[in-house]
């Protein structure tokens, strides 16, 4: 992993003297780790460029290359706030593993709200209420993910999240109220390594 990152970084950032180092000394490995966020940011940006431009002639590709390198340098700490931590990479991988489950939940819960919407005695079925609960998640990113997931699963909307993890949630009926925090919090805690 560090070796490939090294060569890639050399092509991207034109750092002289790094690729000529034959052995993987601790300093090179450290430097490679520090440049890993740059590489990932650049790859993300450049693939977005290719998708959005759709042109493969040298002119457009070089334009994209230049602008992506510049934006990568400007916004180095935007996607990975702490430079060089491999934990953030693992977080992203885990987060991507979390997405399919979330999509399934959204689909099932969408059906639930659809059923409520078309039910003739809807007013008797629903029991809206604003309630609070304490979450055991700590980091900013897990809290935001949890809040957005709560809003996306129908029946519940996040009203307010405090910094220490107290959620204020508006729930549409009893079953969606009882589903929180539950499974979703556990999965997010596992995805972000807070277990």
């Amino acid at each position: 992993m560090p070796a490939t990152t090294n060569t890639r970084e050399n092509t991207i950032l034109h750092e002289p003297g790094q690729g000529s180092d034959p052995g993987v000394t601790p300093s090179t490995r450290k430097r490679a780790r520090a440049f890993l966020p740059y590489a990932i940011t650049f790859i993300l940006l450049f693939s977005l460029w290719i998708v959005l431009s759709g042109k493969f002639d040298p002119f457009h590709l070089s334009l994209g290359l230049i602008s992506c390198v510049m934006v990568t340098l400007f916004s180095k700490d935007l996607i990975f706030p702490e430079p060089g931590t491999e934990g953030s990479l693992r977080t992203w991988v885990c987060f991507i593993r979390y997405v399919p489950w979330l999509l399934y939940q959204i689909f099932m819960a969408n059906l639930h709200v659809l059923y409520l919407t078309f039910h003739p005695r809807m007013m008797d079925l629903i029991d809206p209420r604003i309630f609070r609960f304490q979450s055991r998640l700590k980091g900013d990113l897990p809290l935001v993910t949890f809040a957005n997931s709560i809003t996306l699963t129908p029946g519940t909307i996040t009203v307010y999240v405090s910094i220490d993890g107290t959620f204020t949630v508006h729930a549409l009926d009893k079953s969606s109220r009882e589903s929180l925090p539950g499974e979703m919090e556990r999965r997010i805690a596992r995805a972000f390594g807070e277990e």
């Binding site: 290719i50 998708v51 959005l52 759709g54 969408n110 629903i126 809003t151 909307i157 996040t158 508006h170």
Partner: protein
């Protein structure tokens, strides 16, 4: 292929219809936001996936790129929609609007 596309589009339309009906039928501000924000998101997901599939009929690089762009739309809707709903609900709470509870009249 066509069957899958038509099925997905019909499901998406059902979700969108449910969203519209839900806005009319639910009793108050907060509960109306549930169908407004989320059935629309689900419907958008289904319709966009259907369009991306339909677009891949003539399989080539250009259609793959277009499909990826459509998927990007879904990603951004999924990011922005909950945030927007949260903003609206938060504004309601700050303005002091209490939620409808069972047994009250419709608002």
């Amino acid at each position: 292929m066509d069957i899958i596309v038509v099925f997905l589009i019909i499901c998406g339309l059902v979700f969108f219809t449910g969203g519209a009906v839900g806005i009319l039928r639910f009793p108050d501000f907060y509960s109306r936001l549930h169908p407004a924000g989320k059935l629309d998101t689900g419907g958008a997901l289904l319709m966009m996936v259907a369009l991306a599939l339909f677009n891949l009929h003539h399989f080539s690089l250009a259609t793959v790129l277009t499909g990826l762009k459509i998927i990007l739309i879904v990603v951004f809707v999924f990011l922005s929609s909950p945030t927007a709903i949260h903003g609206i609900v938060d504004a309601g709470v700050r303005a002091g609007l209490g939620p409808w509870t069972r047994g009250e009249k419709r608002r």
